[in-house]
Symmetry: C2
């Protein structure tokens, strides 16, 4: 196949929150296909907050690092256009980390590709409920959170890709589930998913509302945000509470140190005096196939809804990605629809 | 029994690190014994850093709180002088939380007392290796740390009551054990206990020495101190490292917030990007009888040494307690010998 395509590269490393101008849209030739490779046409692109880690000027963690001029990395759902690999046929659908581009030539031996059956679930769910966010939510509630019926669970970023699924899983497990989200519209959307309540962290009386919702103490706190929201939840945790940490978006632009005062002493005090069990984990496929199977059964039976916010066209990706880090109206998984199947 | 005795009361709530002047020695009548009670003569008093929590002006945690004029609480080994309880006889030895006083009249129905057999182990070990510090060290290495042979363990406050035992347990489990302590004398004492190395956090090249000792990464970090030492260890932790938190002495005088910068963002980043498993726990008898049995067998066989630093007389308790929070020469459990059996 010949012709040109669009891709998004990093123009400038992010300082603080990323801006659309930190990215550039380029037109380049469609890549050539080598023996043993597949040429993929991107249908869906996942805009994952974790990408923020990769675009700092200095590498603060061990994650993938993107240099200026590099194509942004990211999870996609694609269709095989051409195959020179015996395991893949043109027309098949796959999920993989192929980046912010309209076409990608990849070697399945190097880039893991997961085949998808569009008859089983909508293809986009491979980037949400039936992909990394779903597995993360599953781990938060089951593998790490060990949520039991009758327990109280608090979930920050409750309207987000992970939070919206985690809360629904909590309800399936018989827990009382309190969400925290920004703004009354998001809170209403979270409650519509079946959460028992959702507290608006932008409300002037946030702490009072949170205290009222957590009156009997919290067994599990799923932290996606860190910062003031996390510090507000800590006093409500019961002794021995579990705290899965799958994000800390309020700090993503800060690096290792923020302006004072130093809140670490109080956090250490809570860890010890409350006997907290904190467990961090990143975007790895934490739950394995068992989690995907369980999530798939819930989705097919209609018990787990897969909220999505969709923007259209690769050119819209930079601004949509930047919007993650400010006030936004996203509900569920944020996706770019790059092309029709 | 009649007569007078000495006890130590709180004169002023601590601000920052406690000072000897925050305590007062009082002479009072020996308490009267009620029906169902026992009169105990204190032989050994434990000076436990955790007492610091109880003498803040404001109650920051759920722990016991000591008001001005109250007798300080603390673990003791005592001998029964007089008994009006059918389960105790004069001459028996017990361990319990009877406070900083020469005699205590307690109701065993209200204050748990553990009987001790001086033929099995020296009585003072009931406050160290065969008491709460031993159980804490056991939990750090076995219950929570799950230390495996061949793993690398780092222990801060390695010369302290918990650290000195935890490191020895680590060696019994076949791990490589690196201590961190303040000053070359303490480090030498720690290495004499069998630690593979001990790094002096006061040395100008502390970070370089620590990096050299942790070259292959750290599987388990037992944190007793928080602060700069903890922040220096974090980069060396392996993905999925376990971090039992049984103290954070560098923050005890700080309350919830220290001067800036805010180190919480970097800590949250480590938790998530390194997939850390952090577990806090306080002075509860965490390991239960099983831990005490295992510790007892190690002590009796000579495989677990019980280092102690002993000061003499109740009047010495305030200054000795205050010295915990500054540079000191204590090795192992810090005890006050109040009286001979």
């Amino acid at each position: 196949m010949t012709g040109t395509m669009q891709q998004v590269v990093l123009r400038a490393h992010a300082r603080g929150n990323p801006r659309a101008e930190d990215f550039a849209l380029e037109t380049v030739p469609v890549p050539r296909l080598a023996e043993g490779g597949v040429l993929l046409r991107t249908l869906w692109l996942s805009l994952d907050p974790l990408i923020r880690f990769a675009i700092d000027a200095v590498r603060l963690t061990g994650r993938a690092h993107v240099d200026v001029g590099d194509v942004l990395y990211g999870g996609t759902v694609s269709q095989v256009v051409e195959s020179r690999h015996p395991g893949f046929n043109a027309g098949e659908f796959v999920e993989g980390r192929t980046g912010w581009r309209e076409y990608a030539a990849v070697m399945p031996a190097e880039v893991p590709l997961r085949k998808l059956d569009p008859a089983v679930a909508p293809l986009s769910t491979a980037l949400g409920a039936l992909g990394m966010p779903g597995q993360t939510a599953h781990a938060c509630m089951i593998g790490i959170g060990r949520v039991q019926a009758g327990e109280t669970v608090v979930i920050s970023a409750a309207a987000g890709a992970v939070g919206s699924l985690a809360g629904q899983i909590g309800k399936l497990l018989g827990a009382r589930v309190i969400g925290i989200a920004g703004g009354s519209a998001k809170c209403a959307a979270v409650e519509a998913l079946g959460f028992d309540a959702c507290v608006d962290y932008r409300a002037a009386d946030f702490r009072e509302r949170l205290a009222a919702a957590c009156r009997d103490g919290v067994h599990v706190y799923v932290d996606n945000v860190g910062g003031e929201v996390m510090l507000a939840v800590l006093p409500h945790l019961k002794y021995g509470a579990r705290m899965p940490v799958c994000g800390f978006i309020s700090y993503y632009g800060i690096g290792l140190e923020g302006p004072g005062p130093d809140r670490l002493p109080g956090f250490m005090r809570s860890i010890m005096s409350k006997g907290l069990e904190i467990r961090g984990f990143g975007g790895a496929m934490v739950g394995g196939q068992r989690a995907l199977d369980e999530l798939g059964a819930w989705v097919r039976s209609g018990r787990l809804r897969c909220p999505e916010t969709i923007v259209h066209g690769l050119a819209a990706a930079p601004a949509a990605f930047a919007s993650i880090f400010g006030a936004n109206a996203h509900i569920g998984k944020l996706l770019v629809k790059v092309a029709e199947a």
